[in-house]
């Protein structure tokens, strides 16, 4: 049984085809966000959408779990990351949540500007996924007639 009735092969295959693409698109939006449309919130929503799609097709999941992660871990981890990023600048003598910039030169990619806003945004990203994941694991896994 799926969420919407009998399992459908078409849906299964279709979702398997787009799942990784959507997942990757979410991550792209997260990293692109500082200069182009996107960011942690939007990226998180897109990534969540990937998991929602997979969940709609196959609520039990192949591993017997609806999601490959614990939503609460993401919630806590995301907030912890955001807070740590914010306090780091404070500890190094700046204002709370002040952002710093570093330009890195990794091979192949050329000059990459990294701001401390990025880990903060990743924190936001994780919290959003955790939120949607919580909906899925609680509202989604409820059996018929148990309320």
């Amino acid at each position: 049984m799926t969420l919407l009735g009998e399992r459908s092969l078409l849906l299964d295959v279709g979702i398997r085809a787009v799942f990784h693409t959507v997942l990757l698109f979410g991550v792209f939006l997260l990293f692109a966000g500082h200069n182009a449309p996107g960011g942690g919130f939007i990226g998180g929503l897109v990534t969540s959408a990937a998991f929602v799609l997979r969940f709609v097709a196959d609520p039990e999941g192949r591993s017997g779990r609806p999601l490959p992660f614990h939503p609460t871990t993401l919630l806590g981890g995301g907030i912890a990351l955001a807070v740590l990023t914010g306090t780091a600048s404070w500890l190094f003598g700046g204002e709370l949540l002040e952002s710093g910039k570093v330009t890195l030169h990794p091979p192949l990619l050329g000059a990459v500007k990294v701001t401390s806003a990025l880990p903060f945004d990743i924190g936001v990203y994780l919290v959003v996924i955790g939120l949607v994941g919580t909906f899925l694991t609680t509202l989604g896994t409820e059996q018929e007639g148990t309320t």
Binding site: A36, F41, L96
Partner: protein, 775 residues
Amino acid sequence: MLLLCALAPAATVAWAAARAGGVLNGHPVTEVRPWVGDLGVELSFRLDGFALLMLALVSGVGVAVFVYAWRYFAPRPDLGRFAGLLTAFAGAMLGIVLTDNLLVLYVCWELTSVTSYLLIGFEDTKPASRAAALQALLVTGAGGLAMLGGFVLLGQAAGTYTFSEILASPPSGGTVGIAAALVLAGAFTKSAQVPFQSWLPGAMAAPTPVSAYLHSATMVKAGVYLIARFAPALAPVVVWWRPVVVGVGVVTMLVGGLAALRQHDVKLLLAHGTVSQLGFLVALFGAGWEEATFAAAALMLAHGLFKATLFMTVGIVDHAAHTRDLRQLSGLHVTLRPVAVVAVIATASMAGLPPFLGFVAKEAGLEALLHEGSRGLLVLGGIVVGSALTVAYGARYVWGTFATKPGPAGAPMPSTPVDQPGPAFLAPVVALTVGTVVLGALPVLADPLVGAAATSLDPRVEGVHLQLWHGVSVALGLSALAIVVGTALFLRREVVARLQARLPATPSGTEVYHSILTGTLHLADRVTAVVQSGSLPRYLQVTLVTLLALPGVALLRGPGIPTDLPFAENPLQLAVGVLVVGAAVAAARARRRFAAVLCLGGVGYGVAVLFVVQGAPDLALTQLLVETLAVVVFVLVLRHLPERFSEGSRGLSRVSRVVISAGVGVFVASFAVIAGEARRGSPVSGELLERALPDGGGRNVVNVILVDFRALDTLGEITVLAVAALGIASLVLSGRSSGKAGTAARDPDLPAPEAVGTDDRPVTVSGATGGDPVG
């Protein structure tokens, strides 16, 4: 451990003794340390004559109690807690009597309430102890709050919170009367005056060292202390002060004495006797007459000595004979002779028999009232009757505890078997009794201290001295009368008991306390049942009507809708607008839940398109994604709801819903238009656009605002998201009954459902999933 802690009060005594000379000559020792500078609260301390008297009582009796407690308790693991609490209490008590700042006094006052709560409830495995401790805390805590209000009124009226300055030049006016009433509420509750007296006998659930310390010599004296300080200053200013305070004191003295005559537990007998004696003190101090103040200061000292002794003897008897019921005790005057001697001396002092300190003090009190002429007569009458009762219950205590009683068949009751107390157990009792005897026989020794105390309260006290022998006077005659009547009351105790039994039963203070307590809880239940009905439509209606009533009315009084609004900026806007309105109307009219959800989603997508048209891709993308996920979440929830909305209400209820919905719609729309036009300051967007790249290092202004300029807001928002997620999870899981299939899929990281919703409280989610959330 307890002996180690006894060093603390001992050190205080030594410190005070070193400075006593100057203080007795009228030169107070003062210390000031800044505390809360912005509020003008200073840790200011002032050791004057009265403070010295109180300090001698608190610390002197304190040393005795610590030594006594050392022998009283069998070794047990929580003695450290006891010693710490008792020391903390003694410190707080010293703070009350030494501080010269009203707010610091209040803090110390509440500290004694809290520590006494913990000390009364020291046997924390017994429900009775905990209930008694709670009663003491609630009664004295409520009084303390009232007192704080009084202090603030007084401090504002006087322009200072320094105690000595307020007393030196008391403010006058209407607020001072209210302030006095509030302060008295605190003092009366703390000192167990009628009608608040019932907590003190209840507090006898405490271990005896606690009773001997808190409920004889120290904490209950805090209220008396306050009245003593305020009476000379406020009695002339506040017209009702004298009749009320003196009246309450006399009534308390009589009520306590009568209640003491009825007790079979000797500790309870002493507790009611303490209530009575506190009434005596309040009556003497409260009048604010200088001679009476002097006598009261002497009685304060005498009472501290004899009442602590009496409580300690009860503890010794309890330990030796394993009972405190005077119907079971017999023959102890032989088997526990030293204890009996000490108890008889202390009782004699309490009953006002010569040549003990209690007699000296009471004689001084009677003399003082006689000198006041007609206004003192009524008080005098009450106090003589109270003294007679004191003699009677004192005799009852001595007889009940130590006498050999007649058995059922006329033969004397066999002696109660006893374990002999050790010398260290007796030492503190003997030491306090020596004080009673020596100061009584040679009152000239106590005279400087009592004189300095009275003078510091009221400078008019002069030329009054403690005397053992006043000559054959009216006061002596009244004392003799009280003794004779009291003895008669004791000898005819069966008659007295029958008379008391015939009195109409008045509700005891404890019953009133319990009915107030349960009444409050019932009221809270009722209010919760009304406010938290568990019906989502009801909650929603209340919220929306509030929205219309407050900001809605404000909007009507505002600038009004601007007239120069363009109809549409391009045709696409118009088309999408029509679609959005159509979808909204369809959602409202839908009969099937699923259809309504899809229509709502359509509204959201339409708005997203409008964002794109306006050139806000970030916003549009977010809106699109949120709408999608919202529809998914709706679908997850809808699986558990009936397919169609219930037919819903008809008639008036339906009309009111339509009216509220339409009103809110109009309000939100016009609010959006008016708010957009209402801006007066220059927008911040220009500055943010300029600073985004150089300061934030990003070209996407929206994102830079989120993660840099307004990062703290974002941090708060994601915290809210996380809390909301956990809350939803907990609510949903608590809706599931355990043991059913649902628990198998439960996420082990989420809080257990039991921790969230209790069975007897309406849980909102049951309204959401089982009831009718929308229609």
